[in-house]
Amino acid sequence: MQSINNLMLGGMVAILSTGCAFSTPKSEPPPGAIGRANPMSQPVGQMPPWGGPGMGGPGMGGPGMGGPGMGGPGMGGPGMGGPGMGGPGMGRPGMGRPASSMYQPQHGYPPQAGYSPGGSYPTSQAMPNRQAFAHAVAQASYSSASRPQLGHASWVGGVQHGAAPITPQMAPCSCNHVAGCQRCNPSPYGYMTPMPVPLNAYGIDPQEFICDGGDNPPHVAVRRDDSLTGLQPEDTVVHYTTADGNIEVEASNKVCLYAPRFLSVRKVTGALAGGRAIGAAQFDKPLGTSRLDQPLPRLTMTDSVELAHADVARRIDAMRERVRGVPVDSVLQLEQSSDVMAALVGLTIDQLNQLQDDEKAIVDQFSLAAVSWALDECVEATIEDLRAPSLVRDESLQGLTIYEFPEAGRLRIHKMADRTDAQPGEIVNFAIRVENVGDAAVDRVVLTDNLITRLEYVEGSATCSAGAEFLPVKNDGQSLRLQWKLTDILRVGESATIRFKCKVR
């Protein structure tokens, strides 16, 4: 994804640099030269010959670039690899020597067993078959990239294919007045020395490697039930219990295999595309019978119709009036009343809303009495008896207890593979070595290897040099989580080696 992001950015830069972002299709050349602003990628038939005098040869401009007519005398002969193409002295006199100080060795590859990016390179006598195979292609890239007419030097393949990087520390090997100074081991396998160009900074793609081992974040931790958390695919860890009771987790190194896998996305378009009918276009099988030839016997049908509803309007034909009696309550009232005021003789009206003068004294008396009664005073006394606090410090050494713990044991785990590259379907042998490099024995050693998706464990291939209980469990990556529980205590200096095989998917 990142590569395409960069690719798009590069495309944007290219568009902006041309100054006409979307007008290219209007003035585009024939299909062979679509979008080719770089003279490097112009069709040969529409551009000057690549090589020029002594470089491209007469066969460069015409059809058949990859054929015998491609190379020409100066280019390298038939088929990009004929005479002069990969010869030992092929390009050096004509192409010149690069400035070695500008030449930087390639960055290292992911850490893997048996591979040292900055290490020594084999000589031509010890060149393996595949390397010779590869360098021929790399060499072809030299010749095409190092044409001086193109205005740029793009030596890429030689670095990737193992041409020995010339470090500035290397001293000149020999000097003469004809060929100038030559460096020792300047061009292995007899290839010409690449042009001094800045190397590709993106020389490694981790997607081309399968890595297994290590402890990727989040880091592995051990739960109370002795299970692991944070175990990611690729992780290879060992956890053990030291003599003082601590549980330690140690991760292995990371082992990487060069195993790129290519898949594809397919889209089918065209005039007929989309014509795939989802539903059925025609039904050939008729549904139901179109005609009945068999006469049905006569049926007797009894239909009883009942009156469902009837609207009948009836009039009053006779009326009988009955008047009922109305009840009457008889209320008797007094017929006569006399001497009414006699009932009011005993009534007395007291007027209390007016304070007389002779009553003020009484009021004052009673009010004083009320006041004297309300005040209930008594003597209150508080006694406080506080003493000054005193602080007494009386410290002395009661005793000294020294707890002595034994030195903790420590495990070192190392994972190895027997190869650094693998095709899909090939078998890779892995070995994991656990060694006690501490000062005490460790117990309950559990080694866990969580295989990545593209590594398939070969059943029955696991062996262990010590007593162990092997537990393969399916993991989240549709592969297996291999776990070995050592049954014995791993003493100081002791080690256990586990071997198993995996098939590369």
Binding site: M1, L7, M8, L9, G10, M12, V13, A14, P31, G32, I34, A37, S41, V44, G45, P63, M65, G66, G67, P68, G77, P78, G79, G81, G82, P83, G86, M127, N129, R130, Q131, F133, A134, H135, V137, A140, S144, S154, H161, G162, P198, L199, A201, C211, Y258, P260, R261, F262, S264, V265, R266, K267, L272, A273, R419, D421, G425, T453, R454, R505
Partner: protein, 289 residues
């Protein structure tokens, strides 16, 4: 007065042009990697051959001039051939070659099963390269496997676009992938093959299979063959020519540390000195299993 009107008109035009230019500023934001519409922002798999490769050449890194090894296979019996001397040779069932990144190659497909006499001329555009360790470039080419459905669809008048991508091992398909079981990810017409491949890995090549035939006019040939870009043949070596017995040679694991047999080296040098052998590479085993 006329001069003033002209200046005013010029100012108005300038303001209008600037407003149009800045109105599209949001679309050029590089942080918006993938648009909301599901389409690739700048590049798509439906672009004509040559666009994506050219964009890659102008992008990051230096890939121009590198011959990326590829391996092209198909249904059993199908033969593939690249241009040679303006034409095609008989072809091989396993076509291996080093192709220039950014160039478009028109190869020939013949002897299609159940399609006697039919020929196809698809295009192959290498839009990115791989970065193998030293000595492993030709052992790990970009594997392109065309199946019978591709060829039949193209012969039926359809256009088949295959975007080959390098799979991300972190999100790899958990199944064995061989040239036989290597099934493509089929997408609908409204989807962009480049975008889907970009989500699954790193696109490295595009194969477009149509029913276009070579033109009869010689003047149109360079256009049809995209300028006859250079390519480097990769030839497998027969192990029987080695001094190693055939039986033991089959048992020897293929390792990068094995030296080339002396006889093989001599043959290689002889071939280069005589100018007979067209191939430039030699290996000890077929590149694909």
């Amino acid at each position: 007065m006329a001069y003033g009107n002209a200046r005013l008109l010029e100012l108005v035009c300038c303001i209008a042009a600037m407003s149009v230019m800045f109105s599209d500023a949001n679309a050029a934001d590089p942080s918006d990697y993938l648009s909301n519409t599901g389409r690739h922002r700048i590049l798509s798999g439906d672009m004509p051959p040559g666009y994506l490769g050219q964009a890659r050449l102008a992008g990051r890194g230096l890939v121009s001039g590198y011959f990326q090894p590829i391996a092209l296979t198909g249904p059993k019996g199908t033969r593939f051939a690249l241009t040679r001397n303006g034409g095609y040779d008989e072809g091989t069932e396993l076509l291996q070659a080093g192709l220039l990144v950014g160039s478009v190659y028109r190869f020939q497909v013949t002897r299609i099963p159940l399609m006697e006499g039919a020929e196809l001329y698809p295009t192959l555009e290498v839009i990115d390269r791989t970065y193998p360790p030293p000595g492993l470039a030709t052992r790990y080419p970009i594997v392109i496997n065309l199946d019978q459905e591709d060829l039949e669809s193209a012969l039926a008048g359809k256009m088949v676009t295959r975007v080959i991508y390098l799979e991300d091992p972190q999100t790899a398909v958990p199944m064995q992938q061989t040239p036989i079981t290597n099934r493509p990810v089929d997408i609908a017409e409204n989807q962009d093959a480049l975008e889907v491949a970009d989500r699954l890995g790193r696109p490295v090549a595009i194969v477009r299979i149509g029913s276009l035939a070579p033109p009869r006019t010689p003047a149109l040939m360079p256009g049809f063959f995209f300028g006859f870009p250079a390519w480097a043949p990769i030839q497998t070596m027969d192990t029987r020519s080695s001094h190693v017995p055939a039986e033991s040679a089959q048992n020897i694991p293929v390792r990068a540390t094995q030296p080339v047999p002396r006889q093989t080296q001599q043959q290689h040098l002889d071939a280069r000195s005589s100018g007979v052998a067209p191939a430039v590479t030699v290996t000890d085993q077929p590149l694909l299993k």
